[in-house]
Symmetry: C2
């Protein structure tokens, strides 16, 4: 029984890592679609979000099934509840990628990003991709140094997010109002994506270090 349970927990972990990998692909493509006004790629990100939603929901059903059959307690219970939380965060990360892709699609054939912000958004996107990739590895390995790296990357995303506001509110900003709106929203989506990654990384770290309450806190 115990062995079956451990196998099931490992299955949960692997499925979470798979969803994190899907999310990494989504934000990578969304960043390219946004920066290069690639509407076909944007459409693909939007269509593929349903796969992420489906994978998250099916993982949730597995987790609830485990709760019903195994009635875990203590650390095992925290692990399953954390998995539900992590899956919700991954699903939201996918939504953020989809929202960024939607901005590219709405503006097409116009470009979304003014030249002056292109490198900022490319850097934010690259950081988000790196974070999601590390999440996938962290979920499999519980190597907590990855959690710390994710936190550092989030600090850099926050700096870039602040720099977008500095740019659009600065005296040299030449963007139209729609550029201001799109830059504000896209930056917010990248920042939220990174926040979710940190929240997941913390949960894995808490579980690995035995802080059970932290592991299941929102």
């Amino acid at each position: 029984m115990r062995e079956v349970f451990q196998q099931e927990l490992q299955d949960v972990q692997e499925r979470l890592a798979e969803i994190a990998a899907l999310v990494a692909t989504a934000i990578d493509r969304a960043t390219t679609a946004f920066n290069d006004s690639d509407v076909a790629l944007a459409e693909q990100v939007i269509a593929d979000d349903a796969k992420i939603d489906h994978a998250a929901q099916s993982l949730d059903e597995l987790a609830i099934d485990i709760l019903a059959r195994q009635a875990p307690v203590a650390r095992d219970l925290r692990t399953v509840v954390s998995a539900l939380r992590i899956s919700a965060s991954l699903e939201r990360m996918g939504d953020m990628a989809e929202h960024i892709a939607q901005l590219a699609r709405y503006r097409f054939p116009e470009k979304v990003v003014p030249k002056s912000l292109r490198s900022t958004f490319r850097d934010m996107g690259a950081l988000d991709v790196a974070m999601a990739d590390k999440l996938a590895r962290l979920l499999l390995t519980e190597d907590v140094t990855l959690a710390e790296e994710i936190r550092d990357e989030d600090d850099r995303v926050d700096e870039l997010h602040a720099s977008v506001f500095d740019a659009v509110l600065g005296e040299t900003w030449k963007g139209a109002t729609i550029d201001t709106v799109d830059a504000t929203l896209a930056s917010r989506y990248h920042e939220r994506f990174a926040d979710h990654a940190v929240s997941i990384a913390k949960k894995v770290q808490y579980l690995a270090t035995g802080d059970w309450v932290g592991a299941t806190a929102e």
Copy 2:
């Protein structure tokens, strides 16, 4: 045992309704702080968000404790898992109110909202308050007509959200770039607040009507 369990579930329900009431107060005050540039009220919303976070976390601990002690199955298990989801959404609704209050604080002593958008934001805020109030009642009564009303109100919030974009992107928009940024973000926060309310209402409705999978889906 069964009686104790039912009592505990009722306790969970009442606590969720209490958090919903805190959230209703938060968005009400945040809307006023934002529209009237009332920085003292904004500070209060920001400070009070910690109470919402604490209430949500303590509810989560109770739910996890119930899972551990009672090992519920079937509908009872779905109810407890839904409670964890609902508490996470309520906590995020509190964050949205806090973000709106932060916009007012950052801009003070300047006004955040240009006159032309004041009634739009007042209406969005009023709808959000009404939705949160109804959520509190829905959580206690499971009266699903309330869930339908919440969905209708969300449609109106979405319309107002779209009208904010129409306004800032219209030819008569006279706002500075910072007004565009603030209006974009505030409108997004109101819209997300309403989305979370709908997501909670659906979960309660699913539970009441026996759609267990829907009740625990994200």
